[in-house]
Symmetry: C2
Subunit: 398 residues, 2 copies
């Protein structure tokens, strides 16, 4: 890089330059951007021109959905199939499109274990079905959907009915750390990812969009991102995101194994706590009739086999979630009641309601996410804190 005079620039290096500029710094920035796009594409098994960088997961999901709807040229409205446990950035977008009379939506309920039956998705496909969107792993209960099976059902329908324009999208924001992201193996046409769940990745998102997907941008502006997402590219953010994403791929196998072990340890400790501590047991046992497959434990929400290794979600009947979150926070434990986007309104999460319709607003559910820094002693500390809190809160169940 040649030394630059300071006269005509507000930035100090090519990382801060505008990659669409054609001067030297702009060209260098563009090179870095395209190299990074290739790296992200390689992780997804995609082509670089199929990677659109965005500002985060909400934008990636909106771009995927609205991008397909706006490009729809059918005579009737486009029909969309989804599930009842999607992220708000998906479900609320459908509500918005319905209200604006831009799309018809069919919502397939998941089974009590938090997983949708792929055959039920296929059953909903109609002549005007344009889009199917099923999240890869759930943000609250961590259940993993059978994305490959759903893709197969859609392929079968397409073949049987000689229909090509059904595009299959998955929101993989929660899956990036732990699951296979190869779009060919998954069989998806669009896939959303973001930095929000990756350590050190920052506020950046990306959308994989297969070249063959009929697609429109949702913003007007410049020609950046293959014309699908105008606005000067956030190159420093994109570089950081790609770097963090690469690390997740390297440590994935080891982390999945380690976290699965930690999570099972957490559950084992909870059970013994339940057995040993009568007060605690009374709480946990109360009104809970939620048998789960594969696991003899009646208050964990969502399937325990097909589940992110770092997720635990537990219902505490008759104790408000927000109170539990605040009490845990005082012990230095940052748990969550439901999607942060919708937290604090005192209502049962739509995800918990979907798998356990009998849940009341007064029943609390808690989500614990284990991370890269979590150790066994952190878990012991949490079990101890939970025990103390439940004893303290006994007035709620007495």
């Amino acid at each position: 890089m040649s030394k630059s005079t300071n006269i005509y620039m507000d930035y100090a290096s090519s990382v801060e330059a505008n990659p669409s500029s054609i001067h030297e710094f702009g060209v260098e920035a563009k090179k870095k951007l395209e190299k990074t796009r290739l790296e992200v594409a390689n992780i997804l098994g995609a082509r670089p021109e199929e990677i659109i960088f965005t500002s985060g997961g909400t934008e990636s999901n909106n771009l995927a959905i609205q991008g397909v709807v706006l490009a729809w040229r059918g005579k009737t409205l486009p029909h969309i199939i989804t599930t009842n446990i999607e992220h708000p950035s998906v479900l609320e977008t459908y509500k918005m499109l319905q209200k604006r009379k831009l799309a018809q939506i069919s919502i397939v309920p998941v089974e009590p274990n938090g997983i949708v039956d792929p055959r039920k998705i296929k059953k909903e496909i109609k002549k005007n079905t344009a889009f199917v969107s099923v999240m890869y792993a759930n943000n609250e209960i961590g259940t993993i959907q059978s994305i490959r099976e759903i893709a197969k059902e859609i392929r079968h329908y397409k073949k049987e009915n000689k229909k090509n324009n059904i595009f299959f999208h998955t929101d993989a924001v929660q899956a990036v750390n732990y699951l296979d992201l190869n779009v060919e193996r998954l069989g998806v046409d669009l896939l959303s990812i973001s930095g929000s769940k990756i350590e050190g990745a920052g506020k950046i998102g990306a959308l994989y969009k297969r070249t063959s997907v009929a697609f429109s941008p949702i913003w007007g502006g410049g020609d950046q991102e293959m014309g699908f997402r105008p606005g000067t590219e956030n190159l420093p953010g994109i570089l950081k995101f790609a770097q963090a994403l690469k690390i997740t791929q390297k440590i994935k196998e080891k982390e999945v194994k380690r976290l699965t072990g930690l999570r099972n340890y957490f559950l084992k400790k909870l059970i013994s706590l339940q057995n040993e501590n009568q007060k605690f047991s009374r709480v946990l046992g109360r009104g809970s009739a939620r048998p789960l497959q594969n696991f003899d434990f009646n208050f964990v929400n969502g399937d325990l086999e097909n589940r992110l290794p770092n997720n635990i979600n537990i219902t505490f009947p008759k104790i408000p979630s927000d109170l539990l979150v605040i009490e845990l926070s005082a012990h230095g434990i940052m748990a969550s009641a439901k999607s942060a986007c919708k937290s604090g309104d005192g209502k049962v999460s739509h995800v918990i309601k979907a798998i356990h319709p009998e849940t009341k607003d007064t029943d609390g559910s808690l989500r614990f996410s284990l991370g890269r820094k979590t150790t066994r002693s952190d878990i012991s500390h949490t079990i101890k804190a939970l025990s103390e809190i439940l004893i303290k809160l006994k007035k709620w169940y007495n």
Copy 2:
């Protein structure tokens, strides 16, 4: 802040926490976010709930325009008035809305000095006019629009016609460093800003939206940003942006004075170069018939009085812009031909074409932006480089 166990978090401090979470780190993040929102509101003379943080200028402009159009409840399509020198994130959005049959657009041409006549804006107002958008300062030629006068004309129309729902928007992305941003004094209902032209501000934008503006979000999702812009807030980015914005306000007066002096020095040097150097003079003189008010110089694009202090835009007839940019870049000078969003396509910029319709694709125009680090010696270096380049490129005009 209490010491936290690492068990249930992927972030290391409240700055990285999700401000919508209700645990301690979330609450601290929320406090920081709202404090920052108040700081930005204070700079604009607005209320904190009128500040919506976005990912950048393109999003702010799209949100402003589409947000008003989507909330329109009139029986006919909403009518929008704008000018022919707006940023692509404005003009392309109108094209998109027209194509989707969501709005009618009237484009008022600016005068040859690059400034729109406020009375011509008023003349275009119709019964179904919902939105007027005029950029505060132009990104290519730096001309400053009479925002207060336009606001006054709109107020007069509203009063005379007892019509209230015309919302006035200005794209102030280029104005943040140098001009008054007080929304009350300006008389605007919506105002876009971003970090792109602020040293050290990063990729963040904001939209001021007066409480009374009928408005819809353009994405579906969570309840962040008063429900108008879902998605986890980019708190580290927002903090950095607000900090940089505060600095611009502190040094504004001094910088405007300093840069105006430097710019005049640049122009003086250019004139003497023109007078002294016959070869150079031949280039500059060729086919140029562009008198500008207030300045005896025939090839500077745009008014020289009502102009950003850091902007110089010059047309070099018969020399391709991109060639000039690349030659200057080799001298360490990062100039631009036109909006970076649309650079590299070999066409005359729509802004230059708007003020000088006779300009051909083979005529080059160059934009020099002076910054906080620019010195007199940088300018001497640039004049010297320009002289050498024009001599080298004589084959283009012989």
